[in-house]
């Protein structure tokens, strides 16, 4: 069967099954189990209303537990076991972690992830804030914003190809077709460089790709926050003689600090999970390894589930503070 047809069929079956489930289970509850009539009508309505939320929630809870909650536990278990050749597994305690901590590639990935964590959220947020402020008052600001926002729609892999062309290098003496080398050779008189193979600095060339993508996100959110600042505060500052820079840094930024933190943490989570860009551009060579790609290497290239799961747990551990903070805020808000 043609996959497109198969896809259509699945949509029909999937959507049909969902609707049948929701409709059918509600009908069953109201018509068969606890009909709101007869001698026990009142009691029946109450009981039906106690059960109904769970009918609505069941598929979601089931999928969430199976696809997100269970894996956390299972990964934790896998990280302290080792597969025995021929099937089965045995408990090995912290051996996988010990082995991982002994690998220089892991520490390289950790170092790079930390670099990414420091640079990308900071630069993306700052650039986003800058663009949001600059485009706020100009007439063609909406168009400018939409163009800077555009990379959000481009896949990491697509972005990797786009930037590989920018970083492309040709042998010395021939015409450079990568913009960066064309500028470097043409205007600064250097030798053409293979930018992605220069250890340490190549990390930054990879980060630029993510910054290019995430700036639009930061800009959209911060721009909305800037719009939400009460006019009076800005006007009062101007009347008091504040210059535009003072207005921006002393009046506007403090008022949107909460949003800046949210943007920062959201990008931080993206950075912690960064995989595609490194996978497609360098695959971790030339000292550009990151945790997610290290994990992928362990899981699917070396087939070492123990160490792979251990490195996945490291990513989880790094995400946990943000997770706790988010849950804490959400609960505070609901009260």
């Amino acid at each position: 069967m043609h996959p497109a047809l198969q896809g259509m069929l699945t949509i029909a079956i999937g959507v049909g099954a969902c609707i049948t489930y929701f409709w059918g289970s509600n009908q069953f509850l109201d018509k068969v189990l606890y009909p709101p009539k007869g001698p026990n009508a009142g009691r029946n309505i109450n009981r039906a209303n106690m059960i109904r939320p769970w009918l609505f929630l069941f598929p979601a809870i089931f999928a969430l537990s199976l696809y997100l909650a269970y894996p956390v536990v299972e990964t934790l278990r896998l990280s302290v076991t080792q597969r025995i050749p021929g099937g089965g597994s045995e408990f090995v305690g912290l051996d996988n972690y010990k082995q991982m901590f002994g690998e220089s590639k892991f520490w390289e990935a950790m170092r790079n992830n930390m670099l990414w964590l420091i640079v990308v959220p900071a630069v993306s947020t700052a650039m986003g804030l800058l663009v949001a402020q600059l485009t706020d008052r100009i007439r063609w600001g909406a168009i400018a914003k939409s163009l800077i926002f555009m990379p959000m729609a481009i896949s990491f892999v697509g972005a990797a190809v786009i930037w590989k062309l920018v970083y492309d290098a040709r042998p010395p003496g021939t015409e450079q077709i990568g913009v960066l080398n064309a500028i470097y050779v043409g205007l600064m008189g250097g030798e053409p460089q293979q930018w992605l193979t220069i250890p340490f600095w190549n990390n930054f060339f990879l980060m630029i790709v993510l910054i290019w993508i995430q700036t639009g996100f930061a800009m959209v959110i911060l721009s909305a926050a800037l719009r939400g600042i009460p006019e009076e505060t800005v006007e009062a500052a101007i009347i008091d003689g504040a210059n535009p820079f003072q207005v921006f840094f002393k009046i506007k930024v403090p008022q949107i600090m909460g949003t800046i933190v949210v943007v920062w943490t959201t990008i931080t989570i993206v950075v912690l999970k960064i995989f595609d860009i490194v996978f497609a551009m360098t695959n971790g060579q030339w000292e550009t390894q990151v945790l997610a790609n290290y994990m992928y290497d362990k899981l699917f290239r070396s087939n070492d589930w123990g160490v792979g799961s251990a490195s996945a747990m490291v990513i989880m551990l790094l995400v946990t503070p943000i997770l706790v903070w988010n849950v804490y805020n959400a609960r505070k808000e609901m009260r």
Binding site: P3, Q6, G7, T10, I11, C18, N26, N49, R52, P53, F56, L57, P59, A60, A63, L64, L66, Y67, L68, Y70, P71, V72, E74, T75, L78, V131, I138, G141, A144, S146, L147, F149, M150, P151, M152, A153, I154, S155, V157, G158, V161, I162, K164, L165, V166, D168, V179, W212, I221, A224, I269, F275, F279, A280, Y296, A312, I315, V319, V327, A330
Partner: protein, 382 residues
């Protein structure tokens, strides 16, 4: 006062200018890929894409027609024709007959090549080669020209990438596979999440607050953790690697955001409408289908765009849950990574393949930007 007015206008100019620079910087890489996808391999390899928009001067080696086409005009043997292919609009600025002196003559001049005859080349490439004796041999005379060619673009790359039978270059199948992954993976989570979001927003039951907190927590759980346990599970229960597995995985991974976005939106709907409907005897199911769903359209659209972009652009989930050893179910992102490996230098194929894959999300992005922005604001400012 004029002083202050002066600084203000110069500041405005600075703002306009810096926005122009930033936008140009942001667009430049993408435009490069776009332009490259319309150039031939030779053009890409010999000059930067930013030069493609202007006429280019290049050196070429061309040949006159072969001696078989000569005609006799009185005592002279003559070969006439044009060095360029029909339709080319190149203009010759200099030419020569030897590789050591490729610009020895100006257009219109005549080169005396001794016993090989006399050659006259005009700026438009037309030439006249004459001799007192008949031309011999099988090949025409070599002519070295320095010509300025107008910008030239081609659709051949798209033809090759979309229509070629060659499996390594072809994006057509991968395009349909991507579509097959994307659409169910977008529709199904919306449906499941909408019901759950309604329950979390408008129904009262013990444990509701806890569930909402759990959804917020699961929002940030890295899907990397799910790879091995779920692959094991899929292999164990017989789903294996394939579309069903990838649909289920995307559904699971997309649910927290879907529930979170939709619940935040539904909570904001006016209480009166819902309570009036309850008083009128509508059941929760009816309220949901007839009132909540239509009113929540903007939030549903926001999430649909998110999920569509995310599943279309995804690589990792497809690698783990979908693509098996046969490669029959490869998706576009995977195909491009393959191309990066096997045809890293063939920019015409790479650029075109990449552009085919980003064209659809870009179209969706520009058409539905309003909903995307709205969804992002609802999803993170809270």
């Amino acid at each position: 006062m004029s002083n202050i007015a002066g600084t203000k206008s110069s500041l405005t100019w600075a703002v306009h200018l810096s926005v122009v620079v930033l936008v140009a910087l942001w667009l430049f890489p993408t435009v490069g890929l776009f332009v490259s996808s319309f150039r031939t391999a030779d053009q890409i390899a010999t000059s930067g894409w930013w030069k493609a928009l202007f006429p280019q001067e290049q050196n070429e080696v061309l040949r006159t027609a072969e001696p078989g086409t000569q005609v006799q005009e009185g005592p002279l043997y003559v070969i006439e024709g044009n060095l360029f292919d029909a339709g080319a609009e190149s203009e010759i600025s200099a030419w020569g007959t030897s590789s050591r002196e490729i610009s020895a003559y100006a257009p219109g001049e005549t080169a005396d090549m001794g016993e090989d005859g006399r050659l006259t080349v005009e700026a438009d490439g037309s030439y006249r080669l004459e001799n007192d004796v008949a031309f011999e041999g099988r090949r025409g005379e070599r002519v070295f020209v320095t010509a300025t060619a107008p910008p030239e673009f081609t659709l051949d790359n798209y033809r090759q990438v979309l229509l070629s039978e060659d499996a390594t270059d072809s994006m057509a199948k991968a395009f349909f596979n991507t579509l097959t992954v994307t659409i169910p993976a977008t529709v199904i989570p919306i449906l499941i999440a909408a019901f759950a979001a309604y329950a979390l927003a408008w129904m009262d039951f013990p444990g509701r607050a806890l569930l909402i907190a759990a959804v917020v927590g699961l929002l940030v759980v890295p899907l990397q953790l799910a790879l091995i346990p779920l692959l094991k599970l899929h292999l164990g229960i017989g789903i294996g690697k394939g579309y069903l597995g990838v649909w289920l995985a995307h559904t699971g991974f997309g649910l927290p955001l879907a529930i979170y976005l939709l619940r935040n939106y539904m909570v904001g709907l006016p209480r009166d409408i819902i309570e009036n409907a309850r008083v009128d005897g509508a059941s929760d199911f009816q309220i949901f289908v007839k009132i909540i769903l239509p009113l929540s359209f903007p939030a549903l659209a926001s999430f649909a765009i998110f999920q569509f972009l995310w599943t279309w652009n995804d690589l990792l989930v497809a690698l783990v849950f979908l693509i098996d050893a046969t490669g029959e179910t490869t998706v576009m992102t995977r195909q491009i990574v393959e191309l990066l490996g096997t045809r890293g230098g063939n920019w015409e194929i790479l650029a075109t393949a990449a552009f085919v894959s980003i064209a659809v999300p870009l179209a969706v992005f520009f058409a539905m930007q309003k909903y995307l922005v709205r969804g992002m604001l609802a999803g993170s400012v809270k």
